[in-house]
């Protein structure tokens, strides 16, 4: 009988670890779903801080990190990239173009903001990418892949569009692997999906 219980426990342990392990595997954020809980470091650069609207406000006073929902914008476009990823390199000029089109349009400027997270990239690597492609929006590091794990280990580039509402509520309206395609078309899609303007 003792032997029966020991075997039973052995199989139970195996079953639980396998099933439990699988259940812990994170899937990428879904449209209409929740973002993983994470913080980003407030940029040191004043212009970047300003762009994100993190310069003022009591909730941020003295804090060194922020959440996406705290970015002062109706819409945040998040690009998950890596300096080492050929498609991200190829996509960089197009994302810059998207930034420029938003910046030039008075009805969009300040409403849609773009940030990037460099998966497995350290500060030097993210800076190298930024310099190489003259990227005008803030880039953050995820050197130890901890954010990558929270985002379900997506391949890169991966784009997520978040519609921010007052009081920290939000809705994910776009979550997709790969290049976003033609810039104007993507921008129209973002406007349509988020209902801004």
């Amino acid at each position: 009988m003792k032997r029966f219980w020991s075997f039973y426990l052995l199989w139970l342990a195996l079953f639980l670890t396998i099933v439990g392990g699988r259940a812990l595997a994170v899937s990428p954020p879904q449209v209409g779903g929740a973002l993983p809980d994470f913080d980003l470091a407030v940029p040191k650069d004043a212009a970047e801080k300003n762009y994100l609207g993190l310069s003022r406000g009591l909730p941020l006073f003295g804090k060194e990190t922020f959440k996406i929902q705290q970015i002062k914008a109706d819409v945040v476009i998040l690009e998950i990239f890596s300096m080492y990823c050929p498609h991200c390199q190829a996509e960089a000029p197009r994302v810059n173009d998207l930034y420029a089109k938003i910046d030039k349009n008075p009805s969009l400027r300040g409403k849609i903001k773009i940030i990037g997270i460099g998966i497995g990239n350290n500060v030097y690597e993210v800076e190298t990418f930024k310099k190489k492609y003259k990227i005008p929006f803030p880039l953050f590091t995820d050197e130890d892949f901890s954010l990558h794990k929270k985002f379900g280990e997506v391949r890169t580039p991966y784009f997520i569009v978040i519609r921010n509402y007052p009081k920290g509520s939000y809705r994910i309206v776009y979550s997709q692997l790969g290049a976003f395609g033609e810039v104007d078309q993507f921008l129209s899609q973002v406007i349509k999906l988020t209902g801004i303007k």
Binding site: L9, Q89, G120, F145, E153, R155
Partner: protein, 204 residues
């Protein structure tokens, strides 16, 4: 007996847990789609170096994907040489390593350096793999036959026939000035290479 079985079940539980939740410290570019083979977590280092800093680097001649034949001595008195060995084509960390070097040609140029990418894979494999990385500015060499001979001469050929994820920096006099052989599962940071090259330049 009971204690034995309990110990056994604990062992299995831990083994299963670590297998299914193994850390995957790499990213995969979408460029490779579903074509990356994941060997899992490997023994960090599985070889013993045969060279040290200050030694003359053993010369070699290897074929490049471009069709050229390249010898280390071709760069003597002309360029500092960075050898970047990767373990295998079509694996996670390696696939996201050389494409990063591909956007920093200017940093190599500024430091009078050439990069040579080396793998023990054969040329056809290296050809189709590196085609996904865009147009590479540096030669990619095959150390396939005799298998891993160059890797072996440096002491970085693993018992499974792959090379370590290693970096060697060799100055214009052919002297090894820097060696990086650490965890095969982790990509060396880019700044490691650039800082060493800058040091070389300052010293010259």
């Amino acid at each position: 007996m009971k204690r034995y079985i309990c110990g056994f079940s604990l062992f299995f539980a831990v083994a299963a847990l670590s297998f299914f939740n193994a850390p995957t410290a790499y990213s995969i570019s979408d460029v490779y789609k579903g074509n990356i083979y994941n060997p899992g977590i490997l023994k960090p280092v599985d070889s013993v170096l045969k060279v040290k800093i200050g030694d003359v680097a053993p010369d070699f001649t290897l074929k490049a994907v471009s069709g050229e034949t390249i010898s280390l001595k071709d760069y003597r008195d002309r360029k500092n040489v960075v050898l970047s060995f990767v373990p295998a084509a079509w694996t996670p960390v390696c696939s996201d390593q050389w494409p990063g070097y591909n956007i920093v040609k200017d940093l190599f140029d500024q430091n009078d350096a050439i990069l040579l990418g080396i793998s023990v894979d054969n040329l056809p494999t290296l050809f189709s793999w590196t085609n996904h990385m865009g147009v590479l500015w540096f030669p990619v060499l095959s150390d396939f036959y005799p298998h891993g001979a160059v890797a072996s001469s440096l002491g970085i050929l693993r018992s499974d026939g792959m090379a370590e994820r290693a970096l060697f920096i060799i100055d214009k006099q052919g002297i090894i000035r820097y060696i990086y052989v650490r965890d095969i599962n982790i990509r060396p940071p880019l700044d490691v290479i650039i800082k060493e090259l800058e040091k070389l330049k300052e010293a010259s």
